[in-house]
């Protein structure tokens, strides 16, 4: 867990990056830089901004993923909830009991959303290239990327995704169409 001050600095970095001017960056470059380990674990800090009422909600937890198999996203504070994502399903459990299950088979919207989130977290750049236009800059091993949805149906949900990382993804800012914004910072415990 990061200390509150560190957290704020990290948030600031995210915001700064999102305001800087972006140059040419290609998916191929990202592909070359990114490591995509089989398994990875870590913790996250999330700040969700609700534009409607001007309130930010902070949460934190741990995550792990197995490449192209599943992501486990465990929110610990302030509420305990575990989300398991596979390429076809999203399952939410609380206190070890499944409370909601969404099957992308049944629902196109979920399929698209989980597909994108999965691709972002596991650095599947070719997949993201199908859905987003890329802008960004690369400075040594550090990169910042702006992803703008190509497709109008995705644009209705996500207006912009900002990513920052080196070998691994360090932060995400997800701008939703209605003005809500979700910023996530990652700390990896392996590597």
């Amino acid at each position: 867990m990061m200390k509150p001050i560190l957290k704020s600095i990290a948030m600031l970095v995210v915001v700064l990056f999102s305001n800087s001017v972006f140059a040419e960056l290609t998916y191929q470059q990202l592909q070359d830089i990114s490591a995509s380990p089989e398994r990875i674990e870590g913790s996250f800090e999330q700040r969700k901004y609700l534009a409607e009422i001007g309130v930010s909600l902070d949460s934190s937890g741990v995550f792990s993923y197995q490449r192209s198999e599943k992501i486990v996203w465990k929110t610990l504070e302030p509420v305990e909830n575990e989300m398991q994502m596979t390429p076809t399903t999203i399952i939410n459990s609380q206190q070890g009991r499944e409370v909601a299950r969404l099957d992308s088979h049944d629902n196109p919207a979920i399929a698209v959303f989980s597909d994108i989130f999965f691709s972002i977290l596991t650095a599947q750049w070719p997949k993201l290239a199908e859905h987003f236009k890329l802008q960004g800059k690369l400075d040594k091993q550090q990169w910042s990327a702006q992803l703008v949805p190509i497709d109008s149906s995705i644009k209705k949900m996500i207006s912009l995704v900002e990513l920052h990382g080196d070998k691994l993804l360090r932060s995400i800012v997800l701008h939703e169409a209605q003005g809500d914004k979700t910023s996530i910072i990652f700390e990896y415990s392996t590597r």
Binding site: K48, M83, N92, S104, D106, P108, A111, S152, I184
Partner: protein
């Protein structure tokens, strides 16, 4: 004696005025045909058109028709390729080309931003549209859990259930939408419809055609474009799979077309060859083809006039008419070679008339069936027979007079080629009659037939009507499996008073059906109440939501550290929106209703609803559904396949009665004229019919409706034969005519038994066997004294 005089007068009239009559008749025929076919011939190839209307229940029929229609005009195209880019390009290319066609009403292939907007129309009704899960929690008062879930959702990085935190803190609206499953196994991928769970990138185009799937023009333009593109895209490694009724319709049409040409041309060539061999004159041939041509063309004209269109199968069956309608001409000409036109008419007119009468009677029985297709065939044949009969009567005196100078010398007994041959054959066969063995053999054979019939089960399967190529059915099934759709013909029909009552009834039944699902008996079902709850259910939901707000809202908000103003704001939203109801009228006006509009059946000013059964129906489920039907006055279990089987069975039995009645009627009419000799006229037909049925039961693994119907033909032709032979005291020329007409009929109907269309095959086979037997039996049982 009076009758002889009348006959003289009639014959004289036709001979004396022969020229005027011939000209007038031809003018009439030309005018009539021109009038009837003024707007062209509209060909129909729908198998459904052959199906009878259900005799049980009009609302069931209306529902079945509507369900069939919602599927009928769809053409599903599945495009796949190794690379995603190529598959997408294929979809675009196909869609662009198809849009150009006027026969294409709409293509569903891309989802644009607006399309998903229509779900927003439901937003005002969020407080009364609850998912089953949330209802369950609220009903069991698990408010804490509801708050927990709302919290988890708000902190989730990907909030798929997206809602305003004030207007809808418990994400009622998006949860409801998320539970609305798509009916097809597709997902939106970059704006296109991608088929889920495929190895290769695979996309769907659902083409809605204008309502003329059976029109040849539509089939031609749409399918040729698709196969054209199929070839072009195949070069790029892009494959297209197809499914839809239009494909079956086109296949049936193509099949019927080729069969019509084979059967029609085959029997025509055979008949021409026979006539040339026997009469050895081109002029005779031309004369004899005249009533045949007039018969067929007029039959088409009459059919179009009566039905508005003509079915391909009618035409294929009608091709067999060629063999029957030449009969009258053959009889006239065979006699005419020996005597004058006047004498010919006098001799053959009674037989000709009785022959026509018995055939028309036989076909009329067919017209009484409720099968639209069969009725059309009957009208076609009756019209064809009457027109060729009249053509012989009106034109042959004149035509034979101008082509033949005098009757041939009476020096030789046999004037025409073949006369001797057939007379010989019949004499040889008739010798069998002298053996005691014959009655015994016949008796044994009849006994065997009765046994064969007794131990044979009847076949009334719907497959009797199905003629689609197996390969096409396989491909169709593959596509259905890919998309996870079943063209299920099974459903429950709710017929309570008014839509609200029906929705309530559906909701009551849902519990039972969900239990079936849990037990694995039922795969799934689709119902209107799943997208449009009854007002009663919406009222209940409103109360539940009020309770959720009362019990969970403040604890949820306090966890988010929201102040009391936010609670007040959310409650104000609730207050403003909770009385909104999604009425059927509002629902109907919304775009999203399109998916389930076919679930509402409008019939005689009443509104019924339909609950579709998805997945296979085994005996356990069938029994369960039948029980539901039994226990609810306003729920009917409709199983189209079983219904048609029952119907075919009913008609098979009815038809058997009709055949018996027709035999009896013909027997009575003939009894008036022939008195004791009536047995020699009808017995060969009767014995032949029984033997035929016995044989067919063995060859075809069961008797079906169409075998019985074919017996009517055997009766018609067989009795004709008996009448002519008796009328002319079995003269050599009659034997020739009778034998020739048997051979021509055999050519026509025998070829039908090669047909791939089951109905025609059954007809052909029965007539083929029946006619051979009639001819042989008539020969054997002929009067020895002559």
């Amino acid at each position: 004696m009076n009758m002889v005089k009348t006959l003289d007068r009639v014959a004289n009239f036709f001979v004396n005025k022969s020229r005027q009559l011939a000209v007038l008749w031809l003018i009439f025929v030309v005018l009539f045909v021109a009038f009837a076919l003024r707007s062209g011939v509209n060909f129909d190839s729908s198998i459904i058109a052959l199906l009878p209307q259900s005799n049980k229940d009009h609302k069931v029929q209306a529902a079945s028709d509507q369900m069939a229609a919602s599927y009928a005009n769809k053409l599903l195209l599945i495009v796949s390729a190794a690379e995603d880019k190529e598959a997408r390009q294929g979809v675009r290319q196909l869609a662009t080309r198809l849009t150009e066609l006027p026969q294409v009403e709409d293509i569903l292939w891309q989802i644009d931003a607006q399309a998903s907007d229509y779900y927003q129309q439901l937003q005002p009704y969020r407080y009364v549209l609850l998912t089953d899960k949330l209802r369950e929690l609220a009903l069991t008062e698990q408010y804490q859990k509801i708050a927990q879930q709302a919290l988890a959702n708000i902190y989730s990085p990907i909030s798929v259930a997206k809602s305003s935190i004030i207007a809808d803190p418990f994400t009622l609206h998006s949860s409801w939408l998320l539970e609305q499953k798509t009916d097809l196994n597709v997902k939106v991928s970059n704006g296109l419809l991608q088929v889920a769970g495929q190895v290769q990138p695979t996309y769907l185009l659902s083409v809605s055609l204008v309502d003329e799937v059976y029109s040849a023009r539509l089939q031609q333009s749409v399918l040729s474009l698709v196969s054209d593109e199929q070839e072009k895209l195949a070069v790029l490694g892009i494959t297209i799979q197809k499914a839809g009724l239009v494909l079956h319709a086109a296949a049936a049409a193509a099949q019927a077309k080729s069969e019509i040409s084979i059967i029609g041309v085959g029997s025509l060539v055979g008949i021409i060859a026979l006539i040339i061999w026997v009469f050895a004159r081109l002029s005779s041939l031309m004369i004899m083809l005249l009533p045949l041509t007039i018969g067929v063309i007029s039959a088409v004209a009459v059919t179009v006039l009566v039905f508005g269109n003509i079915h391909m199968i009618t035409l294929a069956f009608g091709a067999g008419l060629i063999g029957v309608s030449i009969d009258y001409a053959l009889h006239f000409m065979c006699h005419r070679y020996q005597t004058t036109a006047r004498m010919t008419l006098k001799e053959i007119l009674p037989g000709l008339f009785l022959g026509l009468l018995s055939s028309v009677l036989a076909y009329s029985a067919q017209a009484l069936t409720p099968f639209p297709g069969l009725r059309q065939m009957a009208v076609f044949c009756v019209a064809g027979l009457i027109f060729s009969w009249l053509s012989v009567l009106f034109c042959f005196s004149y035509l034979s007079d101008i082509t033949m100078k005098k009757p041939q010398t009476l020096g030789s007994n046999y004037v025409l080629k073949g006369e001797k041959l057939f007379a010989r054959m019949s004499i040889i066969l008739s010798r069998l009659n002298s053996y005691l063995l014959l009655p015994l053999t016949l008796f044994v054979l009849l006994g065997l037939s009765v046994l064969s019939l007794h131990y044979n089960r009847a076949v009334d399967d719907i497959r009797l009507l199905q003629s689609s190529p197996v390969e096409l059915l396989h491909k169709e099934r593959a596509v259905q499996k890919m998309l996870n759709v079943t063209s299920s013909s099974q459903f429950l029909l709710f017929s309570a008073n008014g839509i609200e009552q029906n929705l309530q009834l559906e909701e009551q039944l849902a519990k039972q059906l969900n239990d079936f699902k849990k037990q694995g008996i039922l795969e799934d079902y689709q119902a209107l109440s799943q997208v449009l709850p009854s007002i009663k259910r919406q009222d209940e939901n409103a109360q539940l939501v009020q309770a959720i707000y009362d019990n969970s809202l403040s604890s949820f908000y306090s966890k988010l550290q929201f102040d009391s103003t936010k609670v007040a704001a959310a409650e104000q939203e609730l207050c403003a929106g909770i009385s909104a109801r999604l009425t059927p009228k509002i629902w109907w006006s919304q775009q999203q209703s399109e998916r389930r509009q076919s679930f509402v059946i409008k019939h005689q000013g009443q509104l019924f609803t339909v609950l579709k059964i998805i997945g296979p129906v085994d005996n356990v489920l069938k029994q369960a559904l039948q029980d539901i039907d039994k226990n609810h006055t306003h729920i009917t279990y409709v199983n189209r396949v079983d219904d048609i089987t029952t119907l075919l069975g009913d008609y098979r039995e009815q038809m058997t009665m009709w055949v018996l009645a027709a035999y009896l009627l013909v027997f009575l009419i003939l009894l008036l004229r022939y008195k004791k000799r009536v047995w020699t006229v009808v017995l060969p037909s009767i014995i032949a019919s029984l033997l035929t049925l016995g044989i067919v039961a063995q060859i075809e693994q069961g008797i079906n409706l169409f075998h019985i119907m074919a017996l009517i033909l055997v009766l018609g032709i067989g009795i004709d034969m008996g009448i002519f032979l008796t009328e002319t005291k079995e003269s050599a020329s009659t034997w020739l005519a009778v034998s020739l007409s048997t051979i021509t009929s055999l050519l026509a109907f025998g070829l039908l038994c090669l047909s791939e269309t089951p109905v025609l095959h059954h007809f052909g086979l029965t007539v083929l066997i029946g006619l051979i037997l009639v001819w042989v039996l008539s020969s054997i049982m002929r009067n020895k004294e002559t």
